[in-house]
């Protein structure tokens, strides 16, 4: 049986600092992306959407890999905290995958001339979004804590297969989407240094934001688990 109490952990104590770090990092990254970095020679100022778009996509990858790791840890240990981490990360991942698709669409209209293109990166990202919406649906349709956690953990392990498919789809198939510019197999980024710095700053800011949201959402889930246990006792 799951037994849990909402404890004040070091992660919870770090939450205000993570929130402050997120705000500061986001301001710095936005200044770099909107003011400091130059417009692109071909795309002009439209390129600035990409700083947020790529950071969103990074967060989606990170969130779903964390779902996978937390799912493995849950099946291994049966500790409910890992189930809380998995659901928190899945919800954040779905949110940021949705934003990735929306921002990509806004960028595609002036660049490709269409809001939506049936090209591999876009389609595989949309499929990944649908998969993790299904993950959240599976959780919501199950009332029993242990069964829900076990089923969700199995699904969290199965679905991670799509993350490398999304990232490598542009190298496997002929694509309109540009090839990876930063996470390349040769580890040699192809971006202008100021653009690369702005992109890294935005990615760090979004990672702080992810950590902040995670601490908040895990706390809510732990309290929910504790309430269910209390009601059952």
């Amino acid at each position: 049986m799951i037994s849990t109490t909402a404890k004040t952990t070091s992660a919870l104590r770090a939450r205000p600092f993570l929130g402050a770090a997120s705000i500061v990092a986001l301001f710095v990254a936005l200044w770099m992306a909107l003011v400091w970095s130059p417009p692109d020679a071909a795309m002009g100022n439209v390129v600035r959407i990409l700083y947020v778009h790529v950071a969103n996509a990074w967060l989606a990858y990170l969130a779903f890999v964390i779902v996978f790791l937390a799912s493995v840890a849950y099946l291994w240990t049966k500790r409910p905290v890992f189930d809380a981490v998995a659901v928190a990360s899945a919800e954040i991942g779905v949110l940021f995958t949705g934003l990735t698709l929306v921002l990509g669409s806004i960028w595609a209209r002036p660049t490709w001339g269409v809001w939506w293109s049936w090209e591999p990166r876009v389609v595989t990202t949309a499929v990944m979004f649908a998969m993790y919406v299904g993950y959240l649906l599976l959780r919501n349709l199950s009332d029993d804590l242990e069964r829900r956690a076990t089923r969700a953990a199995i699904l969290g392990i199965v679905l991670v297969v799509d993350v490398p498919i999304v990232h490598l789809s542009v190298t496997w198939m002929n694509a309109l989407h540009q090839l990876p510019s930063v996470l390349r197999p040769d580890l040699q980024p192809t971006l202008d240094p100021s653009m690369l710095a702005s992109l890294i700053a935005m990615t760090i800011a979004f990672t702080f934001l992810y950590a902040y949201l995670m601490t908040a959402r895990v706390d809510i889930e732990r309290r929910r688990q504790a309430r269910v246990i209390e009601a059952r006792a």
Binding site: M131, V133, L141, L155
Partner: protein, 221 residues
């Protein structure tokens, strides 16, 4: 996990289907209706193009496989038989492989009927019939390992009828694309393409079989 137990579960599934073939009948009827309706909706001329005909066939097959697999587990729940199988030594491990094996045979039968119907209704000329059979076998092998996994995950949940396709279809996208392209390649005379797509389908079947065998026992309560 023993092969004997897997064989027992598979034989039990086949016997149950022979005694009460509602899974097979509903899947065959469903695939026939869907192929007919899809072909009418896109227009017979468009539907007779190899890529379109392949896509219509494999989408119908995916839904029919979900239907047949769900029916198989529903029958277990109706008869309270699942708990008895799980209680057997090794039953928890054998049920995934046994069910997947039996359902592969059942879906193979559905594919024969659905494929014959597609060829007949759409007057398809197949340049490489042997390669088409190979792609069809590989495509059929790719469906049960994924679908049994998701039916088990959704077992005893409310709204499971809607949940299984929502979960399974996005995961089946690579298999559906590979099966459609392989079918189109066989129909249009591209032998190397058909073999490559069939190989990819077998690889997917192996990956999901290993994944299912490893983690499904944990999902069965």
């Amino acid at each position: 996990m023993s092969l004997r137990r897997i064989g027992l579960v598979a034989r039990r599934e086949v016997r149950a289907e022979r005694g009460q073939p509602d899974g097979l009948v509903s899947a065959v009827t469903f695939v026939a209706v869907l192929i007919l309706v899809e072909s009418l909706a896109v227009g017979p001329l468009a539907a007779s193009r190899p890529a379109v005909a392949g896509a219509l066939f494999w989408i119908a097959m995916a839904f029919a496989a979900i239907l047949a697999t769900s029916r198989s587990f529903e029958r277990e729940l109706e008869d309270d038989a699942l708990d008895a199988v799980l209680a057997l030594p090794g039953g928890r491990d054998a049920i995934y492989a046994g069910k997947a094996l039996a359902l592969t045979a059942l879906i193979g039968l559905v594919a024969i009927v659905g494929g014959a119907l597609s060829l007949l209704l759409l007057s398809l000329d197949v340049a490489l019939p042997g390669h088409l059979v190979l792609v069809t076998i590989a495509g059929v092998l790719g469906l049960p390992p994924v679908i049994v996994l998701f039916v088990v995950l959704a077992l005893r949940l409310r709204s499971r009828g809607a949940l299984v396709p929502i979960l399974a279809l996005p995961v089946l996208v690579p298999q559906l694309v590979a099966a459609t392209n392989g079918t189109a390649a066989a129909a249009s005379g591209d032998a190397a393409g058909a073999i490559a797509w069939a190989g990819l389908l077998v690889a997917f079947a192996l990956v999901y079989s290993v994944l299912g065998l490893t983690i499904v026992p944990a999902a069965l309560e």
